[in-house]
């Protein structure tokens, strides 16, 4: 399936763009997507910090199954307020 990952803040700077299109197996989980992002944006893995991933506006666990048309975002450590 094809998925689009929204990027914010330092992750967007590292990737040099605000979204990344990914092609993943139909049964891919959040964990699988994370590995793919680490490959495309090496600084994510190098940072030593696991960024949270949101699926359809909720934080997602690594084992969560993804589906076509899911809205996905990479969430670097937050600093709102």
């Amino acid at each position: 399936m094809n998925l689009n990952v929204q990027l914010f803040a330092v992750a967007r700077d590292w990737a040099g763009r605000d979204q990344i299109p990914l092609e993943l197996p139909a049964d891919a989980t959040v964990e699988r997507l994370r590995r793919e992002l680490d490959r495309v944006v090496p600084r994510l893995a190098e940072s030593g910090v696991r960024f949270r991933i949101a699926v359809n506006d909720e934080f997602a666990a690594d084992h969560q199954q993804l589906h076509e048309n899911d809205s996905i975002a990479l969430i670097p450590p937050v600093s709102g307020g």
């Binding site: 590292w14 910090v49 975002a73 450590p77 600093s79 709102g80 307020g81």
Partner: protein
């Protein structure tokens, strides 16, 4: 009232929004751009957020606060974009019959928002440099925050 806005935060509107004839107490928290952080001078902040998720998180936190404390109304406004020194980036208001609940819920909401809302600030330092603030993340690179926690 749950809102993300590009404009100055209207605390009067928020206070009016949480009013209730059953309320004996209203607590308003306003987070403002501080000029000094550990002695270093800030010129301004830029905030960005994942808007649909931020609104959803705010709504979930509001519901959770209402479940935990006997509060009447509760509202959150977060500003995004450029926020100058002294201006508000966030306002949270809670009304309740008794004051301890309003204090506890407002304080809890702020703690949770700082952990759970997908919002990021970029410090524009007075010396012209700027960097994203990502608590817990440090390492090489001009874009990395040099503080391990967000200090407000």
């Amino acid at each position: 009232m749950i809102e993300v806005t590009n404009h100055k935060i209207d605390t009067n509107k928020l206070l009016a929004d949480v009013q209730s004839p059953l309320a004996g107490a209203v607590v308003l928290f306003v987070g403002t751009t501080r000029q000094l952080t550990d002695g270093r001078e800030t010129a301004s902040l830029d905030y960005e957020c994942h808007e649909s998720m931020t609104l959803r998180q705010f709504e979930k936190l509001r519901q959770e606060a209402t479940r935990r404390w006997p509060i009447l109304q509760c509202g959150v406004i977060h500003r995004i974009g450029r926020v100058e020194i002294g201006e508000a980036s966030i306002a949270v208001a809670v009304s309740s019959p008794h004051r301890a609940d309003a204090f506890a819920a407002a304080s809890w909401l702020m703690d949770e928002i700082k952990q759970q809302a997908p919002i990021w600030k970029r410090e524009n330092w007075a010396d012209g440099s700027s960097q994203w603030v990502h608590p817990g993340l440090d390492g090489p690179g001009e874009n990395l925050a040099d503080t391990a926690e967000d200090a407000t």
